[in-house]
């Protein structure tokens, strides 16, 4: 084990997989000479050369399609979106080509591709660079969707994504690249897709949260503990396939659930999580499931407005108190 940043963990995963399998290559805007807009691909061009670290012009649909075509005939591309917001320009390729190819070819042409890059609220990046993009992808059959919250997950899940025989949407976060944590240096260390993690054990309320929201939930847990409310935090890590088993197991223990997402809420991940819990653990619930979501507005630039749009620690605490029917001082 070594302590490294989330960014370094991603870089290490890429290096290990490129070393392990010469079919793996990295392609995208500024991934080579510039070493990545967020330096995730730092040093790769020097170590692996331009054949395997491919700088592209600004042509998201084009180079994503190039990746999909290359994957159809056996290569294993890792396509970087400088920010996932740009993936909207490649949405047709991802949804109509990558996601459906194996199905509409009756299993003849699978597409082993990873499309990765940062998404979600960051630091005053405003309306076009701050969207929680997972919602555009997990709805589509044929795509796997990963949102890794910790450096160790970043490494282990990216390696699994690269080894997967299907298209994987892998959305990181600008706000997490500098987060440090313990990461395995074993080149064979991976974390399977579709397996949630319990970040903090607790007994009173299950809070489902990922990425920056997971860290806010951890902060909320500290405060709530002072009032004697013990929350269990489940991080799905992979949104598609979703590990509903781990979430339901936790809810059956705590009998209360709060789901958190940074996105705008309506028909969002929180809606799906709430539906899964309500449909499959209704008899175990002592309170309706609470959703804590972003405000349904485009992301504003002004610092105070940006803060107000995104779920805060306080709003998570309020929701937890509501499902506990507690008004401020411990459980009712």
């Amino acid at each position: 084990m070594a302590v490294m940043t989330y960014r370094e963990a991603l870089n290490l995963a890429l290096r290990e997989e490129m070393t392990r399998d010469d079919r793996v290559f990295v392609i995208g805007e500024e991934v080579g000479l510039y070493e990545g807009a967020y330096k995730v691909t730092q040093g790769l061009l020097k170590d692996f050369g331009p054949k395997r670290v491919v700088d592209t012009p600004i042509a998201e649909s084009g180079f994503t399609g190039v990746g999909i075509g290359a994957a159809m005939v056996g290569l294993r591309p890792v396509v970087e979106m400088m920010t996932f917001n740009f993936a909207l320009l490649a949405l047709d390729q991802i949804v109509n080509s990558a996601a459906k190819m194996n199905y509409m070819s009756g299993g003849q042409f699978n597409v082993p591709i990873v499309i990765r890059g940062p998404g979600g609220p960051a630091h005053q990046l405003a309306a076009q660079h701050s969207q929680s993009m997972e919602v555009y992808f997990y709805h589509v059959p044929g795509l796997k969707v990963v949102r890794p919250s910790t450096p160790e997950d970043a490494k282990g899940l990216l390696k699994s994504a690269i080894r997967d025989d299907n298209p994987v949407i892998f959305i990181e976060s600008e706000t997490l690249y500098a987060v440090k944590g313990e990461v395995s240096e074993d080149p064979e260390f991976t974390i399977p897709l579709g397996k949630a993690a319990v970040r903090r054990e607790g007994t009173d309320v299950t809070v489902v949260a990922y990425m920056g929201m997971m860290y806010r939930a951890l902060e909320a847990a500290e405060e709530l503990a002072k009032d004697g409310i013990s929350i269990e935090i489940v991080d799905p890590r992979t949104l598609q396939p979703l590990d509903s088993g781990t979430i339901l197991e936790s809810v059956r223990k705590t009998h209360r659930a709060v789901v958190v997402e940074a996105g705008a809420g309506f028909a969002g991940m929180g809606s799906e999580l709430s539906a899964v819990i309500t449909e499959q653990a209704f008899d175990d619930l002592d309170a309706p499931v609470e959703r804590v979501t972003g405000v349904p507005a485009p992301m504003p630039y002004a610092r105070n407005l940006e803060k107000a749009k995104t779920p805060s620690k306080e709003r998570i605490i309020e929701a937890v108190r509501r499902v506990c029917y507690a008004n401020g001082n411990g459980k009712s």
């Binding site: 042509a59 399609g65 075509g69 080509s97 070819s105 009756g106 042409f109 997967d164």
Partner: protein, 336 residues
């Protein structure tokens, strides 16, 4: 490096022999009869959805494929029965796919617009206009990555030219010197929108110049002319890894799809009848007979063999069961 040639191709003496002529005529007739039968089956409700016929354009797929190797790749849009047949796919499995049956190429899950045959390196039928141009560029990228000498033929209609993906793909293929041959089948109508109503530059081959890409226009009703132009593009792809844009000027004798049977709203009957006088099958048959590459008996035998093959394909499709319901949930993901 841009050039325009090919309205009156003059194949070198001896370049065409009986075997080649038989193959070219056979493949064009096969596409024609296969689609005529498919149209009948569609009218009877045995084929559903959209059915876009290639009738009139056969010389493009057959001429181009005849200049390629079997291990080369091909990819096309949703009017792709002809390209799939030309590549050597089994008409029985293709017809079964059109019928939505388990013995179809994709077990009945793709249909007319999504024919795929890995066995002959046919990478599909893609029904979002322009979307397969980046895919073809990616296949060519993979060929170069692996150090191979294959190429990919990427067929698309004039309707794909105004799409952004045409521009992105042409640029990337030329920038990276990739072995892809872009073959624009210019049949003059994107569904009901004529070339003049869609493109600021209607001489499509000229777009290649903007990307420093070799580019040529060719009479797409002349199978030998297409073959000749394609042979140059193939050489360029194999030896220089360089792409080419070919504009094959052709015409679809039928409507946009079976739901537009006459195609009469946006073009005149006179125009269609005039173009039918340049039927690529008739043109080549007459030429082959005149040149002595074929005799009448060859032609009769081809007609009979093809009719038998297509009848057999229909019988095979009719006899094949519908896919079991379990197929609904298989192939969404490939299991590792």
């Amino acid at each position: 490096m841009a050039q325009k040639t090919g309205t009156q191709p003059k194949p070198a003496p001896g370049a065409i022999d009986g075997d080649l002529a038989r193959r070219l005529l056979n493949d064009m007739v096969l596409i024609r009869r296969f689609e005529e039968k498919a149209a009948e089956a569609y009218a009877l409700g045995k084929i559903g959805g959209f059915l876009h016929l290639y009738i009139g354009e056969e010389a493009v797929a057959v001429g181009a494929t005849s200049a390629m190797r079997p291990d080369d790749y091909a990819v096309a849009a949703y009017r792709e029965h002809g390209h799939c047949l030309a590549k050597g796919s089994d008409p029985r499995r293709m017809m079964a796919e059109l019928f939505g049956r388990i013995d179809g190429l994709s077990k009945g899950k793709g249909g007319s617009m999504h024919l795929f045959d890995k066995g002959v390196n046919f990478l599909g039928g893609h029904a979002i206009v322009g979307s397969h141009l980046p895919l073809a560029t990616g296949v060519a990228f993979a060929v170069k990555y692996r150090g191979g000498d294959q190429l990919i033929a990427c067929y698309f209609g004039d309707g794909a030219v105004p799409e952004g993906e045409f521009h992105e793909s042409m640029n990337l293929a030329a920038l990276w010197k990739l072995p892809v041959v872009f073959i624009c089948e210019n049949n003059r109508y994107a569904m009901g929108t004529s070339l003049e109503r869609a493109l600021a530059e209607t001489e499509i081959w000229k777009f290649g110049r903007a990307y420093n890409m070799a580019c040529e226009a060719v009479d797409g009703m002349d199978v030998l002319a297409v073959r000749e132009v394609m042979a140059r593009a193939v050489a360029r792809a194999r030896t220089e890894h360089a792409p080419t844009l070919i504009e094959a000027r052709t015409y679809r004798f039928r409507g946009h799809s079976m739901r537009d049977p006459a195609g009469a709203v946006y073009r005149t009957k006179d125009e269609v009848e005039k173009e039918k006088l340049r039927d690529p099958i008739v043109l080549f048959r007459e030429r082959a007979l005149q040149a002595g590459w074929l005799v009448e008996d060859d032609v009769r035998k081809i007609e009979k063999d093809v009719n038998d093959l297509v009848d057999d394909a229909v019988a095979f499709a009719e006899a094949s069961p519908e896919p079991p319901l379990s197929e609904l949930l298989t192939d969404i993901f490939k299991e590792s």
